[in-house]
Point group: C2
């Protein structure tokens, strides 16, 4: 605790490289997606969740859990997306407190137009650069780190 175990030179390079890669990668993905479709990465994630449902709608808390977002973040974000006509709120007959969030026609058109190019960019920038073994290792790393995150509360 008070006696730190510092990172080795090699670990420091790996850590810095990882942080820099992530910052630059998401900045590029965000910029391209925005230019291509006017969507942010967050918009994209919300719309993907909705298109994955049979009826293209979901309860707010359901979405929050699927996205791993705080409910207030989602609430603010949905208000902005609703203003832009990407989603709409529908009353929930079972529970008058609740609301359904539904994809609008414009929301569906937008995500259907944006997704192919976005996937191509991810492929170009990431998966085309990696070997199959590296992809395996990336998944293993993600799994192991998340297991530790789960362990430590």
């Amino acid at each position: 605790m008070t006696d730190p175990r510092w990172l080795t030179e090699h670990e420091q390079r790996a850590w810095r490289g990882y942080l820099d890669m992530h910052a630059r990668l998401t900045a590029r993905l965000h910029r391209d997606l925005q230019a291509d479709s006017g969507l942010s990465l967050s918009d994209f994630d919300v719309l993907v969740q909705l298109t994955d449902r049979d009826d293209e709608r979901a309860r707010v808390l359901e979405l929050a859990q699927a996205l791993q977002w705080e409910k207030s973040r989602l609430s603010h974000h949905l208000a902005r997306m609703e203003r832009r006509g990407l989603v709409e709120r529908q009353e929930c007959p079972d529970d008058a407190r609740g609301a359904f969030i539904a994809l609008t026609a414009q929301g569906r058109r937008t995500i259907e137009q944006a997704a192919p190019q976005h996937v191509n960019t991810v492929r170009d920038l990431v998966f085309d650069q990696l070997t199959a073994e590296q992809v395996d290792t990336l998944l293993a790393i993600s799994t192991q780190v998340q297991a530790r995150l789960d362990d430590t509360q």
Copy 2:
């Protein structure tokens, strides 16, 4: 372009796993750092840059380049850090437009107190979970993806 090459099932799992890991990992690191020292991860990065200099100060654009931040982001951020007493502005005699940003005594105390625990958390959550080969692969992945980012403008 119009004909997407979708990700394989395995690639999708790796991509989702990676995004989820990063979101959860940085959220945890941020929360712990904040609780321990009152610093944000951004504050931390700025302070590390300053402590790395001999005279514990730097020009604004120098910092912006080192951090890979936009100058306006840095300007706003420094204004807030200055208000909290972590850094101070000093006049630049060589160039009256310019400013030095210098670590304050409080800034130095804060980062020196915060860094060991932060490094321990990174080690606990990440490097203690990985084999040496996995760390190598992480560095290779970061390098390869950043090379592609460099290539594509």
